[in-house]
Structure formats: C-alpha cells, structure tokens
C-alpha cells in the first residue's frame, strides 16, 4: 500500500468500513492469490514461459482482448451516449439488451453467437453464401465472443458517467457557438475521460479472462483460437501444474496494466485530455 501524503477527500473513513474492507480484501483477493502462489511450481516457470503453447496462448489472448476492447469502445461509446442522452420509447429495453451478455451463462452466449453467426445462423448462413465467410473456429470468432461478453462493462460505466456530469459546461460551450461535435470533443469527452479509461480497463480485463463463450463459439485450436484461459483449463485437465504458472502470468499481465491505468487515471482528479483512440 502506498502511503499517500495528501489527505483523501471526504474526511475520515469509519473504522467499521476499514475492518470490513480488510476482511473482504483478505477473503476475496489475498487468500485465493496466496493459494496460487503457494502451490505454484516455481522451478517450472522457465519451461512454461518458454514453451510454444503458452507463448501462442498469451499472444492470442493479448491480440483478442485488445481487439475486443477496441471494438467495445467504437460501438460502446455511441451506444452509451444514446442511452444517456436521448429520450426514446423502449430505451429501458435497449439498455436491458445491452447488459444481456452479463447475465447469460457463458455457454449460452456461445450458442447464441452460433445461432447468429454460425453456419446455420441468422446472419452466418448469408455471410457464408455471399462472401464465403465462416466465422466459427476462427480468431474472429474469439474476438467476437470476447467483445460480446465484455462490452456491457464499457457501456454501463460510460453511460453512468454521462448521466452524472454537470451538463452546464456543455450548455455554455454550445451557447458560445461551439458545434455539437466540438462540444462533445472538447467538453464532454474530457469530462468523462477517467470513466472511459475505467470502462476500457474493465472491458479489457473481462475480455482477457473470457472462457465460456470463446470455447463454445471459437473452439480450441492451438495458435488459432486457444487463448490463455483455454490453455490454462487444459493444463489443469492434464493435471499438470503449469496451469498455475499460466494463471499467474494472466494475473500479472492484468494487474500490471490495470495498475498503470489506475494510477494515471483513477487517482488524479486532473482533467485528462480525451485520448480515446
């Protein structure tokens, strides 16, 4: 824990909150991680990191999760905007649809993607006839599955931010003659910058850990669709301990990235200029 010299905003934290927080931290985060560290076969780390299966799985995981995050941003930001700022009938239904992947059991998500984009799917059949595209069992299927599961995190986070910011700044800018696009670019997006970053981080983390929908829709083929969570699962199937090392790699990668994003964005209350690309 870094000792922050600045006093945190909002005064004193009640002791009871600190106690509960500590218990929660230990039970839900520290102990499981300690369990992994405790059982990790440290002598095997070199072998595991050196072998082709792990390296390809890590590469695929990074490529797919970053692509899924980018797609979530491209489609999720306008969607969040529409949900937060426009009044239309059936908006609550659209919002429910946008969070549907959060509640679908993973395999159901995968099967739903089959019914949409598979060889017999609503769109998939047509894609195959028109362009010869077959999505299932390809890297595109893995990216699609991860986007499907992770995008709701981005939409919810950004929509919440858009609802909570003070709109008077935007009104003022508009009054001063800024176009709607300029207001969005120069006022709104900078204001919700931290939330966008938080949403991206959450989305990316969720995509990185995605397992169920991916294994169903994209299958499992080394070097093509075998992401790190799949490789980890199969390592455990083989009752070999390399799964633990791979899990720790996954944890390390995500903690590293989230810590960097967190330290830059969540803690500083300075306005970051919107860099969402």
């Amino acid at each position: 824990m870094s000792r922050r010299r600045r006093r945190a905003a909002g005064g004193r934290t009640p002791a009871v909150a600190v106690v509960v927080a500590l218990v929660g931290l230990v039970v839900f985060f520290v102990l499981p991680l300690l369990g992994l560290l405790w059982r990790a076969p440290w002598s095997d780390v070199g072998n595991v990191l050196g072998n082709e299966v792990s390296r390809e799985a890590l590469r695929l995981s990074l490529v797919c999760s970053l692509s899924a995050t980018a797609l979530s941003a491209v489609f999720g930001l306008p969607l969040a905007w529409v949900l937060a700022r426009t009044e239309f009938r059936g908006r609550s239904i659209v919002r429910a649809l946008a969070v549907l992947p959060l509640v679908l059991p993973p395999v159901v998500g995968g099967v739903a993607l089959f019914y949409a984009f598979g060889r017999r799917g609503l769109v998939g059949e047509w894609l195959q006839h028109a362009f010869g595209w077959e999505l299932p069992f390809t890297i595109w299927a893995a990216i699609l599955a991860e986007t499907f599961v992770a995008m709701p995190f981005f939409v919810i986070t950004v929509e919440g931010a858009l609802r909570s910011i003070d709109t008077r700044f935007e009104d003022a800018a508009a009054t001063l003659g800024a176009s709607r696009f300029t207001v969005m670019r120069r006022v709104t997006l900078p204001a919700i910058g931290p939330s966008i970053a938080a949403g991206l981080a959450l989305t990316w983390a969720r995509a990185l850990g995605e397992f169920g929908a991916t294994i169903t829709f994209a299958g499992n083929f080394q070097g093509k669709t075998q992401t790190l969570p799949l490789a980890i699962y199969l390592a455990f199937e083989n009752s070999d301990q390399s799964g633990i090392v791979l899990s720790l790699v996954l944890v390390a990668v995500s903690v590293l990235v989230l810590a960097v994003v967190g330290s830059r964005v969540f803690m500083t209350r300075t306005r970051v200029s919107a860099t969402t690309t």
Binding site: V19, L22, V23, V27, G118, R119, F137, G219, E237, N238
Partner: protein
Amino acid sequence: MNIRRKPIVVIAIAFAVLAAGCGSSKSNGGSSSPTSNGSPSSTPALSGTLTVLAASSLTNSFTDLGSQFEAAHPGTKVNLSFGASSDLVTQITQGAPADVFASADQSNMEKVVGAHDNASAPTDFAKNRLEIAVEPGNPKHITTLQDLTKPGVVVVLCDSTVPCGKFADQILTNAKVTLTPKSRELNVKATLSKVELGEADAAIVYVTDVKGSEKVAGVPIPDAVNVLTTLPIVTLKDSSHAALADAWVKFVVANESELASKYGFLPL
C-alpha cells in the same frame, strides 16, 4: 487516514472476524449422517444422497440408471455430475466431496488409485468404441476416416488431454490419416454438440454418443483401427455414504446388458 492511529486495533478486529468465519465454517463441514464407514450391507434400508462423478460419455445412461436406482431405493437421491474424466480426477484429488467415480478410460482411474483416493478396487462395467458422428443424411458423404481430410469438411475432435481425444489421435494414427481439426473440444459432449449444431461436419466420438443423439448419424470406424475402451467404476475413500456407494456400483455392474442393449455400450 486518521484510522492509522489505531492500526493494531483495526487489524486485530479484522483477524478476529476472519478467525470467527474460519472457525464456524469448519464446524459445519462434517457430514450430519453418522453412518460408519464399515457398516455391513446387511441392512438393506439405504437412504441419503449419493454423489456420482461420471465421464461425459455416460450422461444418458447414468441419468436413467439414477432414476431407476432412486425408484428401487426410496429415500435415496443420486446426484450426478458429468465432465471430462481428467477434469473429474482433478476434482477428486483436490478433495471434492463425492462417493463414486466412473471413468471413460483406465488411465484416469489409475490416477485416482495412484492418489489413494479410492475405497475399493475399481470394477470394469462396460466397453465402448468410437465412431464418426456426421450430420443426419451425411451430406458430406463421409464413409471413411480418409474422407475427413477432404477440403471443405469441418472436423472437431476432443482435446488430447481428455480420453475421447486421446483415442481419436490413436485411431487416426492407426489409420495413417493426418487431419487438422478446426477445434479440440474440452469433453465429448461439447465435441458432439458442434455436429448437432451444424457447425461441424464430423467429429470422432463414442458409439454411445451417436446412439444417444437424435441430431447426428454414425459412420462406423473399422475394428482394425478402432479403439476398444473399458470403463471402470470405483467407490471413493472420502465417501460419507459407503453402503450407498457400494450399492450403486453393484447396480451399475448388474445393468451391463441394459447398458449394451439400450445405450450402445459393448458387453465386457
């Protein structure tokens, strides 16, 4: 943070809460049924809940057998959990509470025996063979293993880490056929479902899986290259219902002919 003035107190309380939590969870961990492990089977009044871990390939047959067993012994309940045999072994060796384990192959059973998690010697109860599952009507005209390598034929196999995948590799090696599957699935039911969904043209699964599915047709694999597997079943050491577990194993073994006639297993 002002709380830092009393860190000792806070941490002490936190640990006290944690310790209380751990303590209470231990006390209700034991089973409430006081049946001793060495209870002789002279008392036929069986009762309680039995947890059976079984290979995915046993899904249909064991589900039916479970209902039959419950009907034959009122007061009993059979909880079935299906998965890849290798997955179930992991659960058992990690101390998952279960009474019986039925494996799709011998090597996973050997892992359980090797870890001394079994209560008795394993018993073989059925044999199984593999088959090519294709879409009904066999639109891709697959008649041999060699046909699986034709361009435009999407094939999925079980992963090499699970029995059905290991056997598929063995069969392809025997037949000197080299093919690149689109996917290596985590268990036999997932492999079969890809053909059922129409997303794959063919899969190598057990004869019993094909027989148990209305959405696929089977293409036999010649005996010369096929694998004949023997399925073992065993009672587990940590079982809290030893008598019930023994009764279930006897019941399964006694149903050998039904497993063959109704589900497509082969008699021993």
